[in-house]
């Protein structure tokens, strides 16, 4: 039997405001335990919460970026439960009148576009941090009350890879909006997943499990992949699945059932009387809409249209805002209408250099004019592509000019046939086997001979010229 995987994701996002959601305590990460706290976030009796204006603006901005309908009338509710990381014994959240609903996110998965529905984006607050030691749990309330958004997707994701691609696109857009650090390791972006399997073609959803405790996008994908296998095995053995919460164990690479609390969850939501309602009218919305930057999908389409890039190349360049801006300034300054060569350099050698140095493209110590000048040398066949890559590396290390580095390294390519003839003859003498292979019709042998000439000329020979020379020499003979 064939099963279809159905996944929905719930993302919790810390907003990057200076202060907490309902009080003026700082949101700085890594401060001494229980030093960013006050009567409001510690839940002292009589303390009154007041919502952060910046948090509301950021939330509306994000909801608009995902095409959500902003609710004209929105309010906060109390979600009641007891846990030591929750000093008030309720979390301020939103229940029946969330900030926004019915949005979407366009993703590319396996090179195909797909629209994923976003059910709702609502406002809430973070809980404290627990550290478990022998016999006791320690509580740090610094994180308590940091503004969170909960972003709930529709069950539109049909594979762990799609879930991964959804998260990547989501993160990319949030970075463009500059409303969160999106750092899963620091906990500013967290993700839970609901996953169920159903028979191919079935309409009803199967029994779902909720997965928690993943601390990277890859963790989400791995946990989901494990869960697809586990559920498939159970279903094929005709065993009943139970609805449960399972925790991802990254060390063992398995999900483990969480001990269930007795009875269904009963949060007794009710409107928080300490906070007033919010009326978000058209003027507020249009004011925030005007602040929205050009987002990755639009930027990608514009790069394709304006600069003739392929969708594939454009998609790579727009995934980070700063990299996209850096790339566009290079593209603008690059002479001529055909930008392909430059783009190849950006997403090829330059991106590998950045990855190697564990930084982003735009953080490379690079003057774009030097990059353009370097590509010019290659285009005019003054230096080989191989030498140019090493010049690029030196450019980044030393900050010298491409011209100086090429001269210092004596890297000018030898395209002059006469200068190459002697080397070529030696190579032909030394490699009788390859010569006869080539004559027997093995074209690969030519590549090998060219490689030998390149080696003997310390990479300075122009491979195109060498190839042509050897071919003529061997076919004429």
């Amino acid at each position: 039997m064939k099963y279809q995987t159905v996944i929905g994701l719930e993302v919790h996002l810390q907003l990057n405001t200076k202060t907490k959601a309902f009080c003026g305590c700082s949101t700085d990460f890594g401060k001494a335990p229980n030093s960013n706290v006050c009567p409001v976030c510690l839940g002292f009796p009589g303390a009154l919460p007041v919502y952060n204006h910046q948090a509301l603006n950021s939330a509306i901005k994000l909801a608009l970026a995902f095409g959500c309908q902003i609710q004209e009338h929105t309010k906060f509710d109390r979600k009641n439960y007891f846990y030591p990381d929750l000093p008030k014994n309720y979390q301020i959240s939103q229940f029946d009148l969330p900030l926004s609903r019915n949005g979407y996110l366009d993703i590319y998965s396996q090179d195909k576009p797909k629209r994923i529905g976003i059910t709702r984006v609502h406002l809430e607050e973070d809980a404290g941090k627990l550290i478990h030691e022998t016999g006791v749990s320690l509580v740090d309330f610094n994180r308590t009350g940091i503004p969170l958004l909960e972003i709930v997707s529709e069950p539109d994701l049909f594979s762990p890879q799609e879930a991964f691609d959804y998260l990547t696109s989501l993160k990319s857009i949030i970075e463009y909006l500059d409303v969160s650090d999106c750092d899963m390791e620091k906990g500013s972006l967290r993700c839970d997943a609901n996953i169920s399997l159903r028979l191919e073609g079935a309409k009803e959803l199967g029994v779902k499990t909720e997965l928690k405790n993943m601390n990277s996008f890859k963790g989400v994908k791995d946990a989901l992949t494990f869960e697809v296998e586990r559920q498939t095995l159970l279903l094929e053995a005709n065993q009943k699945l139970v609805q449960e919460t399972r925790l991802w164990d990254v060390e063992k690479g398995v999900t483990v059932a969480m001990r269930t609390k007795e009875g269904a969850k009963d949060y007794r939501y009710f409107p928080d009387p300490d906070l007033t309602v919010f009326i978000i009218d058209a003027s507020i919305i249009s004011q925030i809409k005007a602040q929205l930057p050009e987002l990755p999908p639009e930027k990608m389409r514009r790069f394709v249209k304006e600069y003739g890039l392929t969708e594939y190349d454009a998609k790579i360049l727009v995934s980070s805002k700063n990299d996209a801006e850096f790339s566009e300034s290079c593209i603008r300054d690059y002479p001529g209408k055909d930008k392909k060569e430059l783009v190849n350099w950006l997403i090829g050698p330059l991106l590998s250099e950045a990855n190697f140095r564990k930084i982003k493209l735009h953080e490379l110590n690079l003057n774009k004019n030097e990059l353009i000048s370097l590509i010019g040398f290659v285009e005019r066949q003054d230096i080989s592509h191989l030498s140019a890559k090493s010049v690029l590396s030196q450019l980044l290390d030393t900050g010298k000019s491409a011209r100086d580095l090429i001269e210092e390294g004596n890297l000018k390519q030898i395209s002059n046939a006469e200068a190459l003839l002697e080397v070529m003859e030696t190579v032909i003498q030394e490699n009788a086997k390859s010569v006869s292979d080539f004559k027997a019709g093995k074209t690969n042998a030519l590549m090998y001979l060219v490689g030998q000439v390149m080696k003997k000329s310390s990479g300075k020979a122009n491979p195109k010229v060498v190839g042509e020379l050897i071919r003529r020499r061997l076919t004429d003979a």
Partner: protein, 95 residues
Amino acid sequence: MSIDKETIKHVAHLARIELQPNELDKLSGELDEILGFIDKLKYLNLEQVKPASHILPINNVLREDEPHVSLTSEKALENAPSKQGNFFSVPKIIE
């Protein structure tokens, strides 16, 4: 609507309140009365009344994103029944 003892016990558990048997009886009577009073809404004509989630006719009360001075951790922990270093400490909640 009438409230049975099981419901009272359930609600008491959710609120982490321990009730004596005599309190159970007393409370189920009192809650019955309160709910009976709220039930009066059913007999009123409310067609013209908009649903409200707050008793005050004010909205959009917000604060600017400016930091205030927080408590020191000594002060924050002053009344803690149990602490360890700068942390509040509680009985271990997972094994």
